[in-house]
Point group: C2
Chain length 129, copies 2
DNA sequence: AATCGTAACAGGAATCATTACTGATTAGGA
DNA sequence: TCCTAATCAGTAATGATTCCTGTTACGATT
């Protein structure tokens, strides 16, 4: 049974308030403002728990560190190969591809993730100068 | 300038011979059969180098460990949520989605990756029993 | 309200993948 | 053949994440 905890609530609150796809470390820094005694282990434990329960998403990026997202609806990401920034892609999910992929593989497909790679506007701008 | 090395050749050879999307550790175990004195650091260094040069692909899975693939053509993966096995999905790449995503984001999109999640045939079979 | 069982906590140690360093080796062009 | 930078083996260091220990406090039961 999952009980209420101030720490977990603060973690979820922060995740819902941002679109930055933060890492555990970043979550920790923000939660610490409200709860100065929180420990990094607690952040990790709760993030794992929330991800396992499907309340948040965990995914990895090019920096080798896990990132988290409170938006659990299917949506896609754009990762800058240069600075590593992660942005949401405002595009409707590809509705048919799970079925399409299912034709070729044995097993059961539950969902998919799409990640676009390239260079974000900020990095393109700074390269021009 | 990139010089020839027996170690790097052996790494590439092994990657081209398998469809298993191995980790650095697995590559190490196989290269060690041919070159018993090879060190794990050498494997890591060469894998990073090859990935940077675009000769192989590096990607991460649900196990938190990097996997490598000698097939650099755009293709999609199916990852079993239960056992972590990674399979190729025999499906033609979605040709138009880079442009489609580009409408909504500022920046330049160079490519994309699609990963399907679910349960592979082996795990479904063993669950039945 | 007192007691009890246990989920959750803080703090810190341990683990594990990966990278960096060091001194020795070697590919490959002059 | 000689030179030198790329590469190596071995090992230490790093950094993200997990695990462990003793403690706290929620929530159910009496």
């Amino acid at each position: 049974m999952q009980r209420y905890s101030r720490q977990r609530e603060s973690i979820v609150d922060y995740l819902r308030s941002t679109k930055e796809h933060p890492t555990a470390e970043t979550v920790y820094q923000h939660v610490r403002v409200q709860l100065p005694k929180v420990s990094l282990g607690t952040v990790y434990r709760n993030l794992s728990q929330l991800a396992a329960a499907g309340e948040i998403l965990r995914f990895s990026s090019i920096d080798g560190v896990d990132h988290f997202d409170a938006d659990t609806a299917t949506h896609y990401h754009f990762i800058c190969n240069h600075c590593g920034r992660i942005q949401d892609v405002p595009m409707s999910p590809l509705s048919d591809i799970d079925r399409l992929a299912g034709i070729g593989v044995r097993g059961e497909i539950d969902g998919h993730a799409v990640t676009f790679y390239g260079h974000c506007d900020l990095c393109l701008d700074s390269a021009e100068q």
